[in-house]
């Protein structure tokens, strides 16, 4: 009955990209985290979240993403974001997420710089 988030994963050795489509709320955030932890356990050190398909998020969903940042700090990996709407970008700045996760305008730029 609820808005559901679709995830697509593109694994490329040490880098993986997760594409989201839909609302990142409670469940949405948990789904992303579940996928992210699986990838990290599987050796992924750099994780890029491409949010091009997400136009709306809430703070519950985003706070779950902080758990991924925490884990990345432990393993000296990196979480990055790309293709954010201006409002999601602004929200990440308000929260200070940008201190621990890089934001790129698009995937090409992200992959080049994370590469």
């Amino acid at each position: 009955m609820s808005e559901t988030l679709k995830l697509t994963v593109d694994r490329r050795d040490a880098l993986a990209v997760i594409y989201t489509e839909g609302y990142i709320n409670n469940q949405g955030g948990e789904e992303i985290a579940r996928e992210a932890f699986k990838l990290i356990d599987d050796g992924v050190k750099i994780l890029l979240l491409n949010l091009a398909g997400t136009k709306i998020v809430n703070s519950i969903g985003i706070s779950i993403l902080i758990e991924i940042i925490e884990r990345m700090l432990e393993i000296e990996g990196k979480l990055a974001f790309c293709a954010l709407t201006p409002t999601i970008d602004k929200t990440f700045h308000i929260m200070g997420l940008t201190l621990y996760a890089s934001i790129y305008p698009d995937e090409d730029r992200a992959v080049t710089e994370l590469g």
């Binding site: 703070s59 201006p86 602004k90 929260m95």
Partner: protein
């Protein structure tokens, strides 16, 4: 407070149920579009409305399980600002007790939550909260 009139006003009563914040955000969008707010600013209003709704859904413990929202377009002749008043009849809280969250602290903490009010304040132009054991009211304003 600027001198102004209510040019139009819409009220919405929502049940506290999953995803109902989306209905509120769509009504907000309609009002903001009507006053020709830019689409980026509309998006910010939308997100603030979502946050205010889920706060009431999650924390108010209101017995009627309802949120009451009034969207008012204010201005002297032309629409100047969108004022959104969101009210619940829950247990209330003291905004002064809510610490300003920081990412450093949250990274170490068990709970990563506590961002809603910070985000609302960051996205809206003016935010006023009044709360008692009769319920909570948040008044949020965004200029066109």
């Amino acid at each position: 407070m600027e001198n102004s009139f209510v040019l139009r006003e819409v009220t919405l009563t929502l049940p506290m149920l999953p995803d109902m914040e989306i209905a509120a955000s769509k009504t907000a969008t309609a009002m903001a579009e009507f006053m020709h707010m830019s689409s980026d600013r509309i998006d910010e209003v939308r997100m603030a409305v979502v946050e205010a709704c889920i706060n009431s859904f999650e924390h108010s413990r209101a017995e009627d399980r309802k949120v009451y929202i009034t969207f008012s377009v204010l201005g002297e002749n032309q629409p100047e600002r969108l004022q959104i008043v969101l009210r619940d009849t829950g247990v209330g809280f003291d905004p002064k007790d809510v610490a300003r969250p920081s990412i450093e602290e949250k990274l170490k903490a068990e709970s990563k939550r506590g961002w809603g009010l910070q985000i609302i304040r960051g996205l809206m132009d003016e935010v006023e909260i009044s709360s008692s054991d009769q319920g909570t009211q948040i008044v949020m304003t965004k200029h066109r």
